[in-house]
């Protein structure tokens, strides 16, 4: 029986990698069954199980959303680590901006290149001195 490669990965780990004769997943537009030789397909995944069949073996993984890419001999599942909602992303973005605003209270936004390079040069010189001290001994 013909098989295809299947990789399931999430950003913090590799979940599954192997051969499959059939893959079932829940796409954002409905259930998908993918057999080897499928035409290229790109789809979003809804939270749900991804089932991998290899002959009579079957394994199931939970996937909390992400993307599914199909090439004729390759299926890649890019799983998200958590459910993503636009509103949640928005609030995270606001948080990141807020911290930036707090950090920058009473601060001008033009960068002082001379000051920056002077400060960095000083720090580098300090490190170099320490290294020289070591070499001398």
């Amino acid at each position: 029986m013909s098989t295809m490669k299947i990789n399931i990965v999430s950003s913090s780990e590799e979940i599954y990698s192997g051969e499959a004769t059939m893959v079932f997943a829940t796409g954002t537009l409905g259930e998908l069954g993918i057999a080897p030789g499928h035409t290229p397909l790109l789809t979003g995944l809804a939270p749900g199980p991804v089932r991998v069949q290899n002959g009579s073996d079957e394994e199931a993984f939970f996937c909390s959303g992400g993307f599914l890419e199909v090439q004729p001999d390759l299926v890649t599942v890019l799983s998200d680590t958590a459910e993503r909602a636009e509103s949640l992303d928005e609030s995270e973005a606001i948080k990141a901006k807020e911290i930036a605003e707090q950090e920058l209270a009473n601060k001008d936004t033009t960068i002082d290149y001379a000051k920056a390079s002077a400060q960095l040069a000083e720090a580098v010189a300090r490190l170099k001195t320490i290294q020289k001290l070591r070499k001398k001994q």
Partner: protein, 287 residues
């Protein structure tokens, strides 16, 4: 001449410092292992998403994504990945030097810079030198969660979408090995298009479910996020390695100092005894 009591006090204080630095060295060594493991665990995802992205780039897509679009740049955003804590040698400073150099270079071409900062060290640095900071993510810990970076990435990508910035650079340290970390400034947006062979132009395209635009937006956002996350965990591994080396050096230095001071202490002690003896001898001769 220094007196023995003073020297002894100094030796004791350096010894306790040495204890601290050697403990920190050991902590860094054990954390380094963990952060390297985390770095390796994250790698499959970034490799796979890169594969998918390169397939997408090859496909004859109906929707050209804005991330591939070369605009005449007016403003660039630097995503600067630094550590939260110091005591790691020149790790952050070398990176900032590159960032400042690149930013100054762009400034000469009349391209403004703004900064999205990850890690307390970078926000402290840019607080002191100025600079337009648009987003900050701090205190991510030794095992950062990809979700902690969503906000920051979104701010940058939204600005790109709105046309406020035209380029984005990712600045972080690359882990070469325990002894070497390489500061690196890499262009994130526009994404470099994959080389396509002239003789074999792609004819195929994906079936997109649902819309191509929606999907590619999501996918490329994930891709950028994964690049940022990968650089954060890599930077973490760099931090621990650099810290271990820095603390090892500090411990060695303290050892050298202690040796010197002990020599001085013995000299002083000997001098005091000699002086006392000569006083006694002198006294006896006078009687």
């Amino acid at each position: 001449m220094a007196n023995t009591k003073e020297v002894r006090k100094q030796i004791a204080s350096i010894k306790s410092t040495q204890k601290i630095t050697s403990a920190m060295e050991m902590v860094a060594a054990s954390k380094m292992k963990k952060t390297q493991d985390t770095m390796l665990e994250g790698r499959p995802y970034s490799l796979k998403i890169k594969d998918v992205i390169s397939h997408v780039a090859l496909a004859n897509s109906e929707y050209p994504h804005p991330f591939y679009e070369e605009r005449s740049p007016k403003k660039a955003c630097f995503i600067v990945v630094s550590s939260d804590k110091g005591l790691c040698g020149g790790l952050n400073i070398n990176l900032f030097k590159q960032v400042i150099a690149k930013s100054a270079e762009l400034n000469e071409k009349e391209i403004e810079s703004c900064f999205a900062l990850i890690g307390s060290k970078s926000s402290a640095f840019f607080k002191s030198v100025g600079g337009d900071v648009i987003a900050v993510a701090e205190k991510l810990g030794d095992k950062p969660n990809p979700d902690d970076l969503i906000g920051l990435t979104k701010v940058v990508l939204d600005m790109h979408k709105n046309g406020d910035i035209d380029q984005a650079y990712l600045c972080s340290n690359i882990f070469v090995n325990t002894m070497t970390q390489q500061p690196n400034v890499e262009q994130l947006i526009p994404l470099a298009p994959e080389e396509q062979s002239e003789s074999n132009p792609s004819q195929w395209d994906y079936i997109y479910e649902p819309e191509a635009k929606e999907l590619l937006d999501g996918l490329l956002t994930r891709y950028i996020e994964s690049l940022v996350y990968q650089s954060v965990i890599e930077n973490n591994a760099c931090e621990q390695a650099a810290k271990m080396i820095a603390m090892k050096n500090a411990t060695d230095n303290a050892g050298d100092l202690i040796k010197e001071l002990e020599l001085l202490y013995n000299n002083v002690r000997q001098a005091a005894i000699t002086q006392e003896l000569s006083e006694i001898v002198g006294g006896a001769a006078a009687v």
